[in-house]
C-alpha cells in the first residue's frame, strides 16, 4: 500500500500490461514507425514501474531515473526518425516486410 492508498500491485499490473502490449505491437505491426511507437510504449511501462517502486520505497532516485530515461527516449526518437527518413529515400517505404535487402 503506497501513497494515497494505491497498491503497488496495481502499478505493476498496469506497467506489465503496457509492456506486453508494447511487445505485441513490436511484433505485429509492419511499418517501422508503429514498431518504434510500441517500443516507446515499452519504455513507458518501465518508467511506470520505476515510479511505482519509487513511490513505494519513498525513494527519489526513481524519479531521476525516469527523468533521464525520457530524455534518452527523446534522443532515440530523433535518431530513429532520421534513419527512417534516410531509408525512405531509397525504398519509398518503411514497411519492414518489404525491407529485406540484407538476409540469409
Amino acid at each position: 500500500m503506497i501513497v494515497g492508498g494505491i497498491p503497488l500491485g496495481d502499478v505493476l499490473l498496469a506497467s506489465g500490461a503496457l509492456f506486453v502490449i508494447g511487445i505485441a505491437g513490436a511484433l505485429l505491426r509492419r511499418n517501422a514507425i508503429s514498431i518504434f511507437l510500441s517500443v516507446e510504449l515499452m519504455m513507458n511501462a518501465a518508467n511506470l514501474a520505476v515510479l511505482g517502486y519509487a513511490a513505494a520505497l519513498h525513494n527519489l532516485e526513481g524519479q531521476v531515473v525516469v527523468f533521464f530515461v525520457i530524455a534518452i527516449a527523446a534522443a532515440e526518437a530523433a535518431v530513429g526518425l532520421a534513419i527512417f527518413v534516410a531509408l525512405f529515400r531509397h525504398t519509398e517505404t518503411i514497411d519492414v516486410n518489404r525491407i529485406n535487402l540484407l538476409k540469409w
Partner: protein, 168 residues
C-alpha cells in the same frame, strides 16, 4: 478503495486501452494519436504516484515533442495505412501470439507473487521537485553529463543522416 486508487486504476485503464488502440489501429497517424492519449493518461498516474515533475516532463517532452515529431515524420513520408492482408507470415503471427501470451502470463504471475518489496517505509511521502533536482546534480551528476554527450551524439547523428547528400 481510496479515491487515489480509483483515479489511478482509471488512468491506467485509459492508458492501457489506448495502448491497445495504438497497437491494433492500422492507420499510423491514428495510432500515434492513440499513443498520445495513452501517455497523457500515464502522466496522470505519475502525478498520483507523486511524481509531478516527471508528469510534466512526460506531457511536455513525450506527448508534446516526441509524438509531434512522429506525426511530422508520418506526414512527411505519408506512410500509408497497413493493408489488412498479409500483415506478416501466419506462422510468425501464431508464434508471436503464443510467445506473447506465455510471456505475459509469466510476467504477471511473477509480479503478483513476488512483486512486493521487502520493507514498506512507514508514513506518508511527498516528493519535492527541488530534491529531485538536487539529486540530479549531485549523486547523478555523472549520468547527467553523460546524458549531454548522448544528446549531442543523437543530434549530430540525426543531422548526419537526415541532411541532403552533399558529396559523393
Amino acid at each position: 478503495m481510496t479515491a487515489a486508487r480509483l483515479a489511478f486504476d482509471a488512468a491506467a485503464g485509459v492508458a492501457i486501452i489506448f495502448a491497445c488502440v495504438m497497437v491494433v489501429h492500422r492507420n499510423p497517424v491514428k495510432s500515434v494519436l492513440a499513443l498520445v492519449v495513452s501517455f497523457f493518461a500515464l502522466a496522470v498516474t505519475y502525478v498520483l504516484l507523486s511524481a509531478p515533475l516527471i508528469a510534466a516532463v512526460q506531457v511536455i517532452v513525450y506527448a508534446g515533442a516526441i509524438l509531434v515529431l512522429f506525426l511530422f515524420v508520418l506526414m512527411l513520408l505519408n506512410v500509408p495505412e497497413e493493408a489488412r492482408r498479409g500483415s506478416g507470415h501466419p506462422i510468425q503471427n501464431f508464434l508471436a501470439s503464443v510467445a506473447i501470451v506465455v510471456f505475459a502470463a509469466a510476467l504477471l504471475a511473477v509480479f503478483r507473487a513476488y512483486g512486493g518489496i521487502a520493507s514498506q517505509p512507514a508514513g506518508d511521502w511527498k516528493a519535492d521537485v527541488a530534491d529531485v533536482a538536487r539529486l540530479v546534480f549531485s549523486e547523478h551528476l555523472l549520468s547527467f553529463e553523460a546524458l549531454s554527450v548522448l544528446l549531442l551524439a543523437a543530434l549530430v547523428g540525426a543531422f548526419t543522416l537526415a541532411r541532403r547528400e552533399s558529396r559523393s
